[in-house]
């Protein structure tokens, strides 16, 4: 047991802190008013930010250098996340590619797929959105009905994806398509990599709860997907066996996608709000409690990373964290609104953050589904 950062990690933290300070100032001077990354203009601003990150080697710290990373460990990743969120840098508009697609590529991709696609993800050249949800397949992902029909030289896609985050601004979609028309549920699905500029693909952005065009629905009508449409094979993993590929990504999204650094930064913001505005005794205790919940998440993550580095499989345990951080995020933002009083109604980072936090218990598998997973797979209760 050793809860000290190494000298290397401490040095990386100092370098990164300085880099973020300088580069955020430069980037903000370039773009003028910083807009939400869930709008078209804001997305474009943040791509410029992403390219700065990439050029300095910060876009994917835990990846091999050959793919644009800096060969970091999970500890380095954690330090990066703490400093990143602490600095007030924007949300990562590349996160679906880096955090969800890439882990599946590392695990299931061919050498060609990794060599071609990963560097373009790190460099924010290909911008990936996820194609899991459909109008009739939300929590029940295995209910996917979009089809992929095998034809000579490729696939023909039909169907519809929806609630696709930043889909209107992305260049590519990864998702599950039913490739065996006679199959049901988890079988007969193929994980496909799809450029969004194919003929027969229509993307329509629509507004989320906060009014930003952060969602899209994606329609496929007899869309021909050539076998090499992404410069290499468009099938990730095996044909008809996409479920296991998607599931490996899903646990990443539930678990390590959410570093504690985000919540540490949010609670630091709450302490600032308290210092500016004060509050009553009940809110003081509530804020202290929230601080403890955030810190407990940080400590649990340290244990989780230790276990991962010892070779323990994260698996269903990710569901425990997903419920924790998503409910915690709402609590943090509700405290902020409480401290803001009538100002809470004003459009601003806290009201926006509150609306975003409310999505947490819904996306990446609703918390009801997560609790079922905890009960059945962690506790072993009968189905």
């Amino acid at each position: 047991m050793d809860l000290n950062w190494s000298e290397t990690q401490a040095a990386m933290r100092r370098d990164l802190r300085g880099w973020l300070e300088r580069n955020l100032a430069e980037w903000r001077a370039e773009i003028g008013v910083e807009l939400s990354g869930d709008t078209r203009e804001g997305f474009a601003q943040q791509l410029r930010w992403e390219r700065r990150l990439y050029e300095a080697g910060w876009s994917a710290v835990a990846w091999p250098e050959a793919y644009g990373g800096r060969e970091g460990t999970l500890w380095d990743w954690l330090v990066f996340e703490e400093e990143y969120w602490r600095s007030g840098a924007p949300q990562r508009v590349t996160q679906n590619g880096i955090q969800i697609l890439a882990p599946s590529l590392f695990e299931h991709g061919t050498q060609d797929q990794k060599d071609l696609l990963l560097p373009r993800i790190a460099a924010a050249e290909d911008l990936w959105c996820q194609g899991w949800s459909e109008p009739n397949a939300g929590s029940d992902l295995a209910g996917v009905s979009s089809r992929a029909r095998r034809v000579s030289g490729g696939w023909v896609l039909d169907g519809q994806k929806t609630w696709t985050t930043r889909g209107a601004f992305c260049t590519h979609l990864f998702g599950l398509f039913r490739s065996d028309p006679d199959s049901e549920r988890h079988r007969g699905l193929t994980y496909l990599l799809v450029p969004l500029d194919l003929d027969g693909v229509v993307v329509r952005g629509f507004s989320r709860l906060d009014g930003d065009e952060g969602f899209a629905e994606v329609f496929f009508t007899e869309a021909f997907l050539p076998d090499d449409a992404v410069g290499t094979s468009v099938v990730l993993g095996d044909v008809d066996r996409g479920w296991s590929v998607a599931v490996s990504a899903a646990s990443t999204e539930r678990g390590l996608l959410r570093s504690p650094g985000r919540y540490q930064a949010t609670v630091a913001g709450l302490l600032d709000l308290w210092a500016e505005r004060g509050g009553d005794a009940a809110t003081r205790r509530r804020l202290a409690a929230a601080w403890m919940l955030v810190d407990a998440y940080r400590l649990q993550t340290l244990q989780t990373i230790t276990a991962l580095l010892d070779g323990v499989d994260l698996g269903s345990e990710a569901s425990l964290a997903k419920v924790w951080w998503s409910e915690l995020d709402i609590e943090l933002h509700e405290i902020a609104l409480e401290l803001l009083g009538t100002d809470a109604e004003l459009e601003g980072p806290w009201s926006k953050g509150h609306q975003f936090a409310l999505a947490g218990p819904i996306y990446a598998g609703t918390n009801e589904v997560q609790r079922n997973i905890v009960a059945e797979r962690v506790l072993g209760l009968p189905r």
Partner: protein, 316 residues
């Protein structure tokens, strides 16, 4: 950076767990409700060195730190061991009080002292610090409490006792070690209540199915399991912070106690609800653990007390 209960610590914990499973089963806890607790588990813990983990090797102890002891104390919680392990091994032993069964009033504002009817020594607050009294130097006024296996009493010193420390910082540190131990016991109790309830929910049938197959029951238990998941690292960290004299040790023990207390509360409610009327009786074992958790949740400072300490430490 490495945060886990590594092999040698885990081994000590496993030793405690195994011997408590054998010597402190529910029947032993139940028996302690009506008579002085059977000393066999306590003697076995002593033989295993568990009471002297924090005692230097030169004085016959194991010469280890709180990160080794915290797992043992958690196991005592899991077993609802009636004996005063936290007071003896964690609070008193580092003060040089070794080789006896010690109880203390540090944990209770109104000086309700557990294990008071059979303890050999009493570590009590006085105007000038902490004093140690022999059993013949105190007057015991037994009180009835919700968990009778704790054998609580109000304790009034008759003699002068022996000054153990007059140092305010040492007294505060002793209190904080007690908070840490109580948090660990609460965590162990939560683990036990979860095991009991998961086992019951899988076996009890209603409407033709195990009740554990119903989502409402699953979600109660998932919620409790999630609380445990995030309280456990905070308890281990508090032990580490105390052992290494970290600047945030005071806050860490309060955080651990607050989280472990809340967890035991959520777990206890879920356990009772999922056991239904079968758990709502003293004939079922659940009450042994549930009532202990109620007692410990308020001992050594309740949720509000510790939240306020944390609030002050983060500048609120």
């Amino acid at each position: 950076m490495r945060f886990s209960l590594d092999d040698d610590r885990e081994a000590l914990r496993a030793t405690a767990r195994d011997l408590l499973a054998e010597l402190c089963p529910p029947a032993a806890v139940r028996a302690a409700w009506t008579q002085e607790p059977d000393p066999s588990a306590w003697h076995a813990l002593a033989d295993a060195g568990a009471l002297a983990v924090l005692v230097p090797e030169s004085e016959g102890g194991l010469g280890l730190d709180e990160t080794y002891l915290v797992g043992v104390v958690e196991e005592a919680g899991r077993a609802a061991l009636p004996h005063p392990l936290t007071a003896t091994a964690l609070v008193a032993a580092p003060l040089g009080v070794a080789g006896t069964t010690v109880t203390t009033d540090l944990g209770a504002s109104s000086a309700i002292v557990p294990a008071a009817t059979y303890a050999e020594a009493f570590l009590l607050r006085s105007d000038d610090g902490l004093r140690l009294y022999g059993a013949d130097e105190v007057e015991i006024e037994p009180v009835e409490t919700v968990d009778s296996s704790r054998h609580c009493a109000r304790v009034h010193p008759r003699g002068a006792g022996e000054l153990v420390t007059g140092d305010a910082a040492a007294t505060e540190a002793a209190f904080e070690r007690g908070v840490l131990g109580t948090a660990a016991e609460l965590l162990g109790l939560s683990h036990r209540m979860l095991e009991l309830t998961v086992g019951y929910a899988a076996q009890r049938h209603q409407f033709g199915k195990p009740i554990g197959s119903f989502q409402a029951v699953k979600h109660h238990l998932a919620n409790a399991r999630i609380q445990i998941e995030f309280a456990a690292p905070a308890v281990l960290y508090a032990a580490y912070a105390v052992a290494h004299g970290r600047g945030d040790a005071s806050r860490a023990v309060s955080q651990a106690k607050w989280l472990a207390g809340n967890t035991a509360s959520v777990m206890g409610r879920a356990a009772l609800q999922c056991h239904g009327a079968i758990g709502y009786t003293t004939e079922h074992d659940l009450h042994l653990y549930l009532k202990r958790s109620w007692a410990l949740a308020r001992s050594w400072g309740g949720a509000g007390f510790h939240a306020d300490r944390v609030a002050a430490s983060i500048g609120l």
